[in-house]
């Protein structure tokens, strides 16, 4: 019975202490758990406010957080305003609308009556703030172009060699009366088949590499963001490119072979 006033006091104190949510990286790095009491302040060494950690939040797949080592702490709006001495002010409002036409109407209505601020579409804001990712994306595309050129030359060279290795077989086929056209078709078909099998193997290797990249960077940056995605478009591009190059290389090499005299191909 004597404990009752103390318990009541503890519950009352618990009631007045505000709660916050922290992100999982902060929790892991600082060894914090739900229920821990910490002090939040607007500047290092400031008086601040003692709060209780009520939740630990997972990181979202937001690319803008990747290169930043910032921790995220979520407070109730009025609490944050009080801690940083911001008064009854906010940096922005997010307004939900049922559909695109309602967004347009809301945008016009707000901008017609607003004094001192403007409403923007979320999409426009995203475009404006995603400059970093557009630069990275352009860089990746440029690297991709160089890689495709290098792979194309490599493929062309290998297939030329491969076809050139068949000079004795081609000579034998021509000597037993097989037409140039048939020999050409067979060689080109073989080159296309090799390119097709190569592109299948390449897709498998690409998929494994992509999985390794995701596993590494997701662990490194502690984010669920997927860094590498093998889409059907990419697979189709790689396959079409390699088969086309295979056919081109096969045709070029085969034309050289079938135009030569069979005995010359045998070195006589």
């Amino acid at each position: 019975m004597a404990l009752l006033p103390i318990l009541t006091l503890a519950l009352a104190l618990q009631g007045t202490t505000r709660t916050i949510a922290i992100d999982e990286r902060l929790a892991a790095d600082a060894g914090l758990r739900v229920g821990d009491r910490i002090v939040v302040a607007s500047e290092p060494g400031g008086a601040g406010d003692t709060v209780i950690i009520a939740a630990i939040t997972a990181r979202t797949a937001d690319p803008s957080e990747i290169a930043r080592d910032e921790y995220r702490v979520r407070l109730h709006l009025d609490h944050l305003q009080q801690v940083i001495g911001y008064g009854d002010r906010v940096d922005r409002f997010a307004v939900a609308t049922p559909d695109a036409s309602a967004t347009d109407r809301a945008l016009d209505a707000i901008n017609d009556v607003a004094f001192g601020f403007r409403a923007h579409r979320s999409q426009d804001v995203a475009i404006e703030t995603s400059q970093t990712f557009r630069v990275v994306s352009r860089f990746h595309r440029a690297i991709g172009v160089i890689t495709i050129v290098a792979s194309a030359i490599f493929l062309l060279c290998i297939l030329l060699l491969k076809v050139d290795e068949r000079r004795r077989d081609v000579a034998a086929l021509r000597l037993v009366g097989i037409s140039r056209r048939t020999v050409l078709g067979a060689v080109v078909l073989e080159a296309a088949f090799i390119a097709f099998v190569g592109s299948l193997a390449g897709t498998g290797i690409g998929g494994l590499a992509s999985a390794a990249v995701n596993a590494y960077y997701q662990a490194h940056y502690r984010t669920p963001l997927r860094f590498s995605i093998v889409t059907p478009d990419i697979v189709i591009l790689a396959a079409v490119l390699s088969i086309t190059l295979g056919i081109v290389a096969g045709t070029l090499a085969a034309l050289r072979l079938v135009r030569a005299r069979p005995l010359a191909l045998l070195g006589r």
Partner: protein, 397 residues
Amino acid sequence: MTVHLHLALLSLARHRARTGLAVLGVAVAAAMLLDMVMLSSGMRESFGTLLESRGFSIRLAPRGTLPFDTEATIANASEIVAMLSRNPDVAAVSPVLGATVHVVDGARRSTAFALGVDVAVQGDYEVERGRDASSDDGFVANEEFVQATGVRLGDTLTLATAYSPQLRSYSGERRVVLTGIARFLYMSRGQSAVALPLTTLQAMGGAERRDRASLFMVGVRDGAIADTVQRWIEREIPRVDAISTREALARVDERLAYFRQMALILGGVSLLVGFLLVTTLVTVSVNQRVGEIAVQRAIGVSRSHVVQQIVVESLVISALGAALGLALGLVTARWLNAILASFPGLPTAIDFFLFQPRAAWTALVLLVLSGILAGVYPSWRAASLPIARTLREEAVA
């Protein structure tokens, strides 16, 4: 060696298309390799050079932050300057306050990033025209600011440190004269910037910015150890983070680890592609010349000569590809650098792809080594041919 080179060139000239393609393939791989070697160290070197360019090797920022990463400021700036200056190892202390300023004058309305500096020791800009802002009502600006506002040297402008959108009114106004055009070392492309005397900007900011600074740059005397001074600062002023150039570079490294890792992977893949290409080409070339090689061996040419001939052949392809690739790499590096230079907030002086002779030598040495390795398997194959059986088979064929 001359004989080997001559024979290798003759052998390569026999299949011009094939050799040309192989050299081109190695060139693209070499270009990529050079670019990736440049990328792996370029940003770090470039950033290090920029940080040290004005002789300041330690930066002080509010505890838990990086310079200008947040709007946090450090109180009692003059006291900190006096305290730091008392250390005999400290050569110079430059306090800097950052703020956004608004150009208030009618047609010239614009905003810019303002630096409040001690003009006698500042390390943030270099005056290109006119003179420094030595008086309280003077300021210098960069070309971007001049273009945005149409202001000219000697013009007077009203700058304000705060704008209330609700009341549409400015506060912290001050009439200032443009005394010089400067190049700001740490500003990004297209960013308007001005610099005013520190006391002027502090006064414009009112009580909130009185005697405050966002950053202190500390220069260390010749012979003194920056790390020792850094530790002393952190001990004496616990409310700041003292960041040495070495630490700043380590943090940049950490933030840009992605680019370094990508450079390492792509550089490795390029080297492997070049190696495979040369190995395949030379192996096929050896396979087609087994009879010829067997004849050479039969008439007394030693194994080591055959090996040398094949290795020289692969080296020639690698060397030609490398020479072409290094030139190509410089062109592609400029292209890639131009793309990454458009990163928002990146100082214009920073290069991701910085050409250094060391980078070119590294790429060249790696290519030469891969060229030698590429010749190992085909040359071993050529040297170990059974002479009599090969001659018989070739004769039958």
